[in-house]
């Protein structure tokens, strides 16, 4: 009797394995969370020291338009205005997203609604290939093809926001397209059937039903593309010219947060203002990444068709 009882009271071996697996997964997740939190803490604490240790005012940093770290202005304040980079980052991000969105959605519609066969056989592999190309290759092509092309059309040096936009457009195109494809695919089949049954043409079905139902997914795709464009460093750095000036047009050299960051990091000494202010730029990037993240979640919640 007791033997039987204890047998039932004890954990079975299957249960033990299950618990073991659960513990391991929990440890892994806790580890990831820990890493994310420590990165956040590290970057932000470093970035804030520009304002606390070196006494730069936040306003001067965010809205100052002269970037000469290591030099002081006439009023004795360090010249660390990040506005040129912030504007540069936003311009290339928005412009490349604007350019990529119609192409991506059109490609996705073709792949899902119009010709799924060709989409799967030809377009899908091509897009996957584009994802796999390293960013330095995009940058190099940009430097040797796009920049001279822009130069021959518009004059100037060819370096600038326009070149960066074109390179980024190609880079985010696959991301946005594949996510847009997923969004369109997740529209339930009966929506389409209902529309067709009521006499809607294919175009009407796509335009009024499928795209509408997939709107949150499509917006998420675009925001993801923007996040990628915002964070891209290497390729942009090679074609934008990296001049820390507030951009006045699309074909003069400009700079982005990432391009200045990667260019200057190795040349500064830890703990100096020149170094701290780069961490402040990194903090802006991090905050923007969080913002994009929250935005996609918000879109997913708010935009669902009721």
């Amino acid at each position: 009797m007791e033997e039987t009882q204890s047998k039932f009271m004890q954990k079975s071996s299957k249960r033990k394995i299950e618990q073991f697996g659960r513990t391991i997964s929990f440890i892994c997740i806790a580890f990831i969370v820990l890493i994310v939190l420590s990165i956040l803490y590290f970057v932000i604490s470093k970035g804030v020291s520009t304002f606390t240790t070196d006494g730069v005012s936040v306003i001067d940093f965010l809205f100052g338009d002269i970037w000469r770290p290591g030099e002081v202005g006439e009023n004795g304040e360090p010249l660390v205005g990040a506005l040129p980079m912030i504007l540069g980052s936003f311009f290339v991000t928005l412009l490349s997203a604007l350019l990529a969105t119609p192409f991506s959605i059109a490609a996705a519609i073709y792949m899902v609604e119009i010709s799924p066969k060709a989409g799967k056989k030809i377009l899908q592999p091509v897009i996957e290939l584009l994802v796999g190309i390293p960013s330095v290759v995009y940058g190099f092509i940009g430097l040797t093809v796009v920049v001279p092309f822009i130069r021959s059309i518009f004059g100037g040096t060819g370096f600038g926001i326009l070149s960066a936009t074109i390179v980024l457009f190609v880079m985010i195109l696959p991301t946005v397209t594949s996510m847009a494809v997923d969004a369109l695919k997740s529209v339930p089949r009966h929506y389409r059937e209902a529309s067709l049954a009521m006499g809607g043409t294919r175009w009407q079905t796509i335009y009024k039903v499928v795209l509408r139902a997939a709107t949150p997914g499509l917006l998420t795709a675009v925001v993801f593309g923007m996040a990628r464009a915002f964070g891209e460093a290497l390729a942009v750095q090679m074609v934008i010219g990296n001049a820390a000036m507030v951009p006045t047009d699309l074909i003069t050299p400009a700079s982005t947060l990432t391009s200045i960051l990667t260019m200057s990091m190795g040349n500064t000494v830890m703990g100096t203002l020149e170094n701290n202010v780069l961490w402040s730029l990194a903090t802006i990037l991090l905050v923007m990444a969080l913002f994009f993240n929250i935005l996609t979640r918000w879109i997913g919640k708010k935009g669902a068709m009721k």
Partner: protein, 290 residues
């Protein structure tokens, strides 16, 4: 069943890892970090050194002069490579660091071929880099706007160039910047009217090196200090080097490296120099030339 297989696999993997460690005896390694201009030389010398001394490894990493100086000052590495004197860098306590000058690098302005200008005066060069001269025709060349391309601020090459070209109080114009000498050369080669500057070793047929005041950028002119835009390549140690670090520093300064490798890689051997400079930029003749 699956678990057993998994465990067996683990055992095999662990034994592989362990045997990999067990065989080499007397293994020793040091790490040198910093200047990307000096990196190719230290890498090549390190490989030669490892080939001659089995089991001794020299790990060489880039990261820039600032990284090299801050890492060596913090004691995180064995050697910190830098294009600039530690004294010139803010936030570095140079008193503990021991300077080993292993080579000299000459830096020359380069332009896109076809500007019609091959010689400038120092004043004209200042004018270009401060933004006062904006067209090549002002210098007797073609009617072509001048595009200034700088290295990123804080780069050793830029610091050296601006130190010897610009005078006290002059500010370079805000211009395009690039991170590496290779990219600079490529952009200068392809963008009409562009001017920038690189180490001698980066000059090739795609770009045109400018003479300054009629003096050509050659190793001989650097040796005699007629060409003033040059800098030492420093390898800093934290305190006097010992053990493998000392052996390797001796090796870097040995005739084997100074006579062969340094010239082959486009650097200038330290012993050819007829003058010496200190951190403030004061020049004095070398006291006992060979």
């Amino acid at each position: 069943m699956k678990f057993k297989k998994f465990r067996a696999l683990l055992v095999v993997m662990a034994s592989l890892v362990l045997t990999a460690c067990g065989e080499v005896v007397d293994e020793e390694s040091i790490t040198a970090v910093g200047s990307s201009a000096l990196q190719p030389l230290v890498e090549a010398a390190g490989e030669q050194y490892s080939a001659e001394n089995l089991g001794k490894f020299i790990n060489v990493q880039g990261g820039g002069s600032g990284t090299g100086l801050s890492q060596i000052a913090a004691g995180a590495v064995d050697i910190g490579n830098s294009d600039i004197f530690a004294e010139e860098s803010d936030g570095i306590d140079a008193s503990k660091l021991v300077d080993h000058r292993v080579a000299v690098v000459g830096i020359t302005p380069i332009v896109t071929p076809g500007t019609g200008v091959t010689n400038v005066t120092l004043e004209e060069l200042q004018g270009i880099f401060t933004g006062e001269i904006t067209n090549w025709k002002e210098l007797g060349g073609k009617d072509l706007p001048i595009t200034v391309l700088n290295r990123s601020s804080g780069s050793g090459t830029r610091a050296t160039f601006e130190k010897w070209v610009l005078e006290e109080g002059m500010k370079s114009i805000v211009s395009q910047e690039q991170e590496s000498s290779g990219t600079v050369r490529q952009i200068v080669a392809n963008t009409p009217g562009t001017i920038s500057y690189v180490a001698f070793s980066y000059v090739n047929d795609d770009v045109e090196a400018l003479s300054i005041n009629g003096i050509e950028p050659t190793n001989e002119n650097v040796n005699s200090n007629d060409w003033i835009i040059w800098s030492y390549e420093h390898m800093y140690t934290n305190g006097e080097p010992t053990g493998l670090t000392k052996d390797f520093m001796d090796y870097m300064l040995s005739d084997e490296i100074q006579d062969n490798l340094i010239g082959a890689l486009g650097y200038i051997p330290i012993k050819d120099m007829e003058v010496e400079r200190d951190a403030e930029g004061n020049t004095s003749p070398v006291e006992d030339p060979e």
